[in-house]
Subunit: 404 residues, 2 copies
Amino acid sequence: MTKIAIIGFGVVGSGVYEVIRKNAGEITEKAGTEIDIKYILDIRDFSNHPESNLFVNDVNIIAEDEEVSVVVETMGGLEPANTFSRLMLSKGKTVVTSNKELVATYGDELFALASENDCAYYYEASVGGGIPIIRPMKNCLSANRIESVFGILNGTTNYILTRMFTDNVSFESALKEAQEKGYAEKDPTADVDGFDTGKKISILSSMINGEKINHEDVHTEGIRGITLIDTEFAQSFGYSIKLIGSCRRVDDKYSVVVAPMLVKKDSPLAGVNDVFNGIMVCGNMLGDAFFYGRGAGKLPTASAVVADVIDALRSKDISFKAPWTKAIGNVLVPYDKIECAMYVCLKETDDETVAKVCQVFGNDLKIIVKDGYVAFITGKDTISAIDEKLSKINAKVNNKLMIL
Amino acid sequence: MTKIAIIGFGVVGSGVYEVIRKNAGEITEKAGTEIDIKYILDIRDFSNHPESNLFVNDVNIIAEDEEVSVVVETMGGLEPANTFSRLMLSKGKTVVTSNKELVATYGDELFALASENDCAYYYEASVGGGIPIIRPMKNCLSANRIESVFGILNGTTNYILTRMFTDNVSFESALKEAQEKGYAEKDPTADVDGFDTGKKISILSSMINGEKINHEDVHTEGIRGITLIDTEFAQSFGYSIKLIGSCRRVDDKYSVVVAPMLVKKDSPLAGVNDVFNGIMVCGNMLGDAFFYGRGAGKLPTASAVVADVIDALRSKDISFKAPWTKAIGNVLVPYDKIECAMYVCLKETDDETVAKVCQVFGNDLKIIVKDGYVAFITGKDTISAIDEKLSKINAKVNNKLMIL
């Protein structure tokens, strides 16, 4: 029997409790040992919980209990999750987390601490919720050099964009709807402005790079600027619009970016709708592999956490290897040097503007002129070169989006 | 340094050689040891190969060499792969295979032999080629009770159906094309009649069941009976047609079947085209997760084999657990007791037939009458009940397909 503790009994933490209780038979068989929840740490009152005897509010009770070998951290946020995780690791307890913010910000230090103390730090649930992505990238694609990873990593924004795209609902209305359904927070900044996706793509990028890629250094754009004009033009050009976190290897650097992008209709990513997530990984031997499922939600995310607990128990005799170490030097391609094709929408339709666009960008452009706008898709170039060309056209840029 | 041998230097075997040579740096880092190919067994002449010194044609040289700890079996077929694999396992050498036929037929015995001899038998590449599916089902979904797994497991038939569906090419022409492109064998029986898919779904079913599910007991239909009439009707009803291997838990039994099925247009499976594979797994906590990629091909499949070799080296201190044991009793739901909705196409269009269909199947059917055919989609019922109803209508059944 293995004793574990859960710290943070919110949505995911209570899901972990539920998964362990519901699938006890399967889990014991897979882990090779029964998993016994000895403590649940939460400062809120759970005296009415059927197992209220498990609840404690002093973290040191868990830290000092040598019987507890694995601690599940499902608090979210930097503090006190960071302090508590360090405490547990320093005591030689393996920590399993769903906390993307903590992994993105201090992952390198927590991995190092785990290595020093002969335990481990697991983080599958921090990206893609219930979708297996961290472990496949680590274990299944291990014979590959990973060339790129990109995808839809945030369910809230994908719900909003799906509503805009398929039902012609405005951004504001779709956001309100998402809030009513509980998909979006009252303050939707973390999701809508791309910061959540930024943390997740920085975790995947750090894995590929082997050294930390700081989420604060990643160029991050959200979806507030997308209007129904853009979704209509995208559709006409044969694309969907998705908020994409993307990391591509370019020689010995990485171009990492979070932005709403035009995604070709026949890409598997274009079919990822509502709150679902989808992640494309490209290995130099495998080619493309695609992973799809529920990127959030209580039980899907909790089942990924419990899979990590099982893995931790099965692998306890294998020494832990840090997936990445601290950042050494800048490995990011500067944003304006990233190469891509772009969708541009200008707020002018006089013949002169159209002529100027053709003159500056070449004649084999795809152009649509409609309702007072000129929309077109450029050839592939650096963003700075595209911007320079745009500055030569005397027209108001209504929107400008990367093509995936 | 770890010494390995490759037995069978065909498409996949030579791919394994290539992956290990090309990604040596990445692989050494992941495996924690350098992988050195000491022998390649193949009875054909490779004296012109740049590393011709590695080739041997006596299996005992490998079996008797204690330095060799992992053997890659990429021969395919039952014999001599079976005899050679048993020989290696009995010598305590871990075997990594891409051989679906061997895993489906003797997997239970080979796993048992591995356990007895304190080594392991790995088989990720036997299903889904390069797509990680075995390891995610084993490790990532380990906190779930898996309720179902189904998908497109054969690239050849998916290529043919895609051509029929999107370009209106007949089965015969599409098959010929697939043969010209090297996707289909001269004798296409294994692919086209569903036997390849049957072996793969029996492997996944056995994993879920924990006891062997014999591929010969699985109801297996191929795609020879699909005509452009069916693809046209399917399209009109909002479906695509795919050859599906499917396993669903029904109480304490499993309904396992291989057949061409109608797949709803908005399912991720409907978007799996050409030679790609796609697999949907449903866990009781996770819900649906979907895996997509190249289901065959030299380097994708080889990279899955090498990932297994790396896993074998990293996990050598963990005792091997057989994913399934020999069959005990019959756990299959008989084919005619499987519950599903069905697409039926009758070769009659007189008003009496249409009236009879409505009378027998109820009035809320979706019916299309066109070009001398009556096509409709039934409600959900057992296959025997649907057949019984059909026998009451005096009309020639042109085709009858399950709805996924």
